[in-house]
Subunit: 413 residues, 2 copies
Amino acid sequence: MAVVLQKYGGSSVATPGRIQAVAGRVILQRQQGHDVVVVVSAPGDTTDELLAMAGRVSRSPSGRELDVLLATGEQTAIALLAMAIQDRGWDAVSFTGAQGGIITDDAHRRARILRVEPHRIRRELDAGRIAVVAGFQGINGREDITTLGRGGSDLTAVALAVALGADSCEIYTDVDGIFTADPRLVPEARKLDTVSYAEMMELASLGAQVMQLRAVEYAMAHRLPIHVRSSFHQGNGTWIREEASMEKQRVVTGVAVDARTVKFTVRGVPDRPGVAHALFSRLAERQVNVDLIIQSAARGELADMSFTVAEDDAEAARAACREAAEALGAEGVDFDGDVAKVSIVGAGMVSTPGVAARMFGLLAGQGINIELIGCSEIKISCVVRRDRAADAARALHDGFGLAGLGDPLQGRG
Amino acid sequence: MAVVLQKYGGSSVATPGRIQAVAGRVILQRQQGHDVVVVVSAPGDTTDELLAMAGRVSRSPSGRELDVLLATGEQTAIALLAMAIQDRGWDAVSFTGAQGGIITDDAHRRARILRVEPHRIRRELDAGRIAVVAGFQGINGREDITTLGRGGSDLTAVALAVALGADSCEIYTDVDGIFTADPRLVPEARKLDTVSYAEMMELASLGAQVMQLRAVEYAMAHRLPIHVRSSFHQGNGTWIREEASMEKQRVVTGVAVDARTVKFTVRGVPDRPGVAHALFSRLAERQVNVDLIIQSAARGELADMSFTVAEDDAEAARAACREAAEALGAEGVDFDGDVAKVSIVGAGMVSTPGVAARMFGLLAGQGINIELIGCSEIKISCVVRRDRAADAARALHDGFGLAGLGDPLQGRG
């Protein structure tokens, strides 16, 4: 029998009623004769509540013990969902990450999956049972509980789907799929039928919180198609799959806005070799991922260096900048939290000249100033004032024809 | 180094402040150079809350999934306590039942410990760390999570103490120790310095909720002394140990009252062989533990049969009685919830004649009617009206000299 893998997020199991609704959906698949494996996250705000509890007994809880604590969230969810399925007369068995054979490295709070050993799940499926597996958690070589980082349940689902030879993996969420832009910012945004892995990775890393980046990477490496869809209705969502399977190459697939970004500027650094290294090695030491970088034209002997980081890394980045500024004898450090990163993503960009110029033109047409620019083969990002980010997104969405019907994404670059 | 084993109940870890207080006590022992193992229960009302959650998704949750759910309670407690200890600068590691090597049989919700494999705990102790172990839970041969039944954390603590070769096991509770009677019923009740395992088992099974019966059994089998003491101060509590280690044999050690008991009477059953079997085999089928039994004198061809069961078994007992009454052509079934069982316990009874007569005389002196009587070598129980139970307890406590100073328990029988 074909294995069907479904993943439900925390909001889908936040109340007894929703757990029962999920049970109903799971059984529907089982009734169609499939082997069904369900991966669930911790219910609702459980993870945040557990982190708050930890904060009340410890100023700086260890990763190992935090993982023991956090893992109780999904363990609660699997037990309740298995009970709800059983209550409807179907046989179900729950699995913690350890019982499900999710073997990880030792990096608590952000462990990587080393391998999946789903013997026991396979055995229960063969016995006709529905398998309910805790997302987000695994076990390391010392049999310690580990967790996979924010959004880690997606990775659990994808890794299990690959290990069990499923044809695809269904990710159920509270939105209808992947959109050409955030509908709260761009009312004309349209749901996409398909995006490529590469596009989805750019969208995921750019603040579209629908799927975890590492889960998309893992699916791409194993060519596993993912179906992102709504847990509230049966309609099709968005398929994430290989580019080759798409008939037409789109130039621009979507527009992403990331407001959780901050900009730093180290002012008045000497314009000589080794200066960039002095700054960025200090950032690297503190595990800060630097995003866009610009070094302004030198004023005499002095230059300014600007870069952006994710909001979560701001504290560490500030410390690194101060230290570097002192070592370099710089004039000072500026911190700017009023910026946002607006990006366009599309697999067709690489073969279509002029996309960047068109993007800059569209922003200029709205009087929006571009402060930093970055690009990869399939995306272009601009840092703008945060209060102009929505205007920028609408201008790009409209300018690249993303709102149109039919297939207006084709060949407009 | 000597291993010290401490067990803290759910009320001791119910709030962040209490968790920090426990951390302080644990560290105090570690500072004295001992290897410290701490067993904790689920915080406060967690277990009841989890059972209520299960009830909202399932009418009759399976034992396996209930155990998965309930085990999150202690898992939360061990993580928080380990963090609190670490926060004070000491190294601590938490262990779930599975990680701690608590291997049980397959009986979910009331599993028995088959063996303890504390290799990992031993290793962490040898590395100077404090081990924090989840009580109440274990793992069976299929690597499924199991739980040990109400009060099961006591059993975890005792079994670990034996496996690790601890000299004794400390059970921290919210009372000062074991008393000669419940101080709420008998204000003169005195804390006992020592009780024997056998006495404690009678007291435990008679409604003195201080320690789990099976934990006392396990300790007796392995001759492990237990120290029941308050988690609120450093004073001595009550030692539970072998009789031989007590210098003087007491006739009566304590008075126990169990109000969670109900009485059934099957009226007008034929007075012929096989009748008792017809009733009690039906009770046995439903796993009902029958306590005291009486068959009244026959009236012509007919007799009445009365017995008591624990309140939790009342529903099942009622069904068994109705079925038996129908099969036997009995006149009817009476249910009486207004009774209580009052017992005296003492290892010296076996060698002291006249104790029962003295007990009945003390109750008669208060005008208290005895409805059923039962006894073992070291206890005598009487079923009385529930509203006279406190009077009965006080009369017995006073009559057997339990309130006196010095050692008035000696040789009064």
